[in-house]
């Protein structure tokens, strides 16, 4: 279950990053059907947001901005927001750090495994969050069987018994990495296929570069759009995730939002708008950071060009 309109904004921006750019877009003039369609889509997305804002500020006959001051003075607001941000950043970094080199390695050495990886990346879509969380709680609560112990090379018993990881934020981050897998693998894999990964790597090898240097200095700068898209989608997924956090008993922002919504709908609506603005700032911040990064914007343009060739 996803809570918060921030997701819409982030996914729209993520789509924008991976969308092929067309040269003739700016040349078109007039008010054609495309503009009407665009206006309708904008209305479709902005009206609920506007209505939520209006509802949040409404006091019956007039608008009152004091809801915001009440929200900011609530210690739960800042605490849960911080927790969600920590979880989101943790899951995003871990997912990218795990998936990017793996996708590169598979593309380079085991291209025949790509269908398997694609299938695995889609599995989280098929497994409901509630099943995933119950399964994780069951296995990491120290009651896992010997089969799990063998399959995980003893890692699950070690983490559950020695590190006592059940219902802790680190395990929640791991669970988020799993549910974010479809959003992470696809854009990264697509970006890698858009550039000629194997030949670029071989070119780097022939110039004396090793695997890691080739990955970090040649491949990564050229797949940045895919990596950023993956990061934004993971970030938004985690920021709005409710079910697993609830079952893990970790007090995150969506749980706080849900609790507020049951007592004070106006405050909940304002919170939703705040959440949207906040995540939008985070997303734009990441994009600006990447664009300003040396070679980042260039790399973003290059992927389209490489794809055309």
């Amino acid at each position: 279950m996803q809570v918060g309109p921030g997701n819409i904004a982030q996914r729209a921006v993520a789509d924008e990053l991976t969308r092929p750019k067309r040269k003739d877009e700016s040349r078109r003039g007039g008010f054609g059907l495309d503009k009407v369609a665009l206006a309708l889509v904008m209305l479709y997305m902005l009206v609920p947001l506007g209505a939520t804002l209006a509802f949040g500020l409404a006091t019956g006959t007039s608008f009152d901005f004091s809801t915001f001051s009440r929200i900011f003075s609530d210690p739960d607001f800042s605490q849960t927001l911080l927790t969600s941000l920590e979880l989101a950043f943790g899951a995003t970094i871990l997912a990218i750090a795990l998936v990017t080199p793996t996708a590169y390695w598979v593309q380079l050495r085991m291209p025949q495994l790509r269908p398997l990886l694609e299938f695995l990346s889609l599995v989280p879509f098929a497994v409901p969050a509630i099943v995933l969380s119950i399964g994780l709680l069951q296995e990491y609560s120290g009651t896992s069987g010997s089969l799990i112990s063998i399959l995980s090379f003893g890692l699950v018993p070690f983490m559950s018994n020695t590190l006592n990881i059940v219902s802790t934020p680190p395990l929640l981050v791991c669970a988020y990495v799993v549910i974010a897998l479809p959003f992470v693998y696809r854009p990264i894999d697509n970006s890698m296929r858009a550039i000629n990964t194997t030949v670029l790597t071989e070119a780097a090898y022939s110039l004396g570069s090793g695997w890691w240097r080739a990955f970090l200095t040649i491949i990564l700068p050229n797949i940045w759009p895919g990596v950023i898209s993956a990061a934004l989608l993971t970030f938004s997924t985690v920021m709005g995730e409710f079910t697993i956090a609830s079952l893990f008993n970790i007090y995150t922002f969506p749980i706080y939002l849900n609790g507020v919504g049951q007592n004070d709908p106006h405050k909940a609506a304002s919170l939703s708008v705040l959440s949207f603005i906040f995540t939008l700032i985070c997303v734009l911040g990441i994009i600006v950071l990447v664009r300003n990064r040396r070679g980042g914007a260039q790399a973003a343009n290059q992927v389209d060009i490489a794809g055309v060739k």
Partner: protein
């Protein structure tokens, strides 16, 4: 001992043998071309030399040192790829400097060397350009400069011109040859374009089915092919399948005709042979003017009708159908071909010395058919 040696090298992909016990020796400063149709193993050999593939069998020796198991990044090779493989996020200068940066070459030296290399490939003004701002030919020049920047002992070129248009291809191949000779660089060049191979190589290895069919200088390969495949693949030729009527007198029975060929000492009467005649060795004369004079001159005279006349600039190509329904080709200097026209009855003639005679077995025949099919 040669500079680069491939000793009994093989490469298997599953059950497929890509390279089959190949021996090859490349001398220092030599420009050697691996020429063959797709799937003949030429690129696999190059990739094994580069270190991208490990041989299933055999050794690779560079300057007497065994480099068979050495990682690609540790081999002193420079590689130029068919698809350029320039790093898209780097400028031409940064691409060229990449290898030198890895080797921790001082910054001033890198800048100086970049400028020198850009000048060498004629792109002094384009150092700050990104690959997408350069044409295909310019990108390949940068790729060449990048490969040369690491001062490789061997330059490897994997069909570097095949993605370029015809005019650029010719100018760039001359440039590659000029640079290679200027730097006295040992180079291995892979191509399926026989014209390209003949134009720039010191030696050519004609390959088929993972084996080297003939390794020789371009002139030898063209004028004296040792195998049917080499003869069929390099250049075009008229082919006559027949049986030796008299090996010592140089007579070959082709259908109802007796062809005059050079005496074949290594063959015996009755052997199946393939007689090859290059189109430029064939002459044509209008049937009405040829008259009876042909009967008195030595050589081969075959009557036929011009089916197609193609003007190719310096020469004109005629496709002529003989009375037996065989299509033959003759390349006549354009100035001498003005009076010949389609549907004209002509006599084709060629000297016995123009014939190359090669023994034909069933395996060879299959190969010839395959090459012909690929050419179509």
């Amino acid at each position: 001992m040669a500079f680069l040696e491939l000793e009994n090298i093989s490469k298997l992909f599953g059950r497929n043998t890509a390279v089959d016990h190949v021996n090859l020796a490349v001398e220092h400063g030599e420009f050697l071309t691996l020429l063959g149709p797709s799937g003949c193993g030429k690129t696999t050999i190059l990739r094994m030399v580069a270190g991208f593939e490990v041989p299933s069998e055999g050794y690779i020796l560079l300057d007497g040192e065994d480099i068979t198991q050495r990682a690609a990044s540790k081999r002193p090779m420079g590689m130029v790829f068919q698809s350029y493989a320039l790093f898209p996020h780097m400028t031409a200068e940064q691409n060229i400097a990449f290898g030198m940066n890895i080797k921790h070459v001082p910054r001033e030296t890198i800048q100086k060397r970049c400028a020198e290399l850009l000048e060498l490939v004629g792109l002094s003004e384009k150092g700050r350009s990104f690959p997408h701002q350069l044409s295909g030919g310019q990108q390949q020049r940068v790729a060449l400069a990048r490969a040369l920047a690491v001062e490789p002992k061997v330059l490897l070129l994997d069909e570097p011109l095949s993605a370029l248009d015809a005019k650029v291809r010719i100018s760039l191949r001359n440039e590659i040859r000029r640079i290679q000779q200027q730097l006295k660089m040992t180079a291995i060049y892979v191509t399926h374009d026989q014209e390209e191979a003949l134009a720039i190589s010191d030696r050519i290895a004609v390959m088929a089915k993972g084996k080297i069919e003939q390794l020789d200088q371009p002139e030898e390969i063209y004028s004296n092919p040792r195998t049917i495949f080499a003869a069929s693949f390099v250049g075009s030729s008229n082919q006559f399948r027949g049986k030796l009527a008299s090996a010592s007198q140089g007579l070959c029975q082709v259908g109802n005709h007796l062809l005059h060929i050079p005496p074949a000492t290594n063959l015996k009467d009755g052997d199946a042979v393939l007689v090859l005649v290059r189109p430029e060795e064939v002459n044509i004369e209008a049937a009405e003017t040829a008259g009876d004079s042909d009967a008195n001159t030595t050589g081969n005279h075959i009557p036929g009708v011009i089916e197609l006349r193609t003007f190719l600039g310096p020469f004109t190509r005629f496709h002529i159908r003989t009375e037996e329904g065989v299509s033959l080709t003759a390349d006549i200097p354009s100035q001498q071909a003005r009076d010949n026209y389609v549907a004209q009855h002509v006599i084709l003639s060629f000297a016995p010395e123009a014939c190359q005679v090669l023994p034909l077995d069933s395996e060879d025949a299959k190969l010839v058919k395959q090459v012909e099919a690929e050419a179509v």
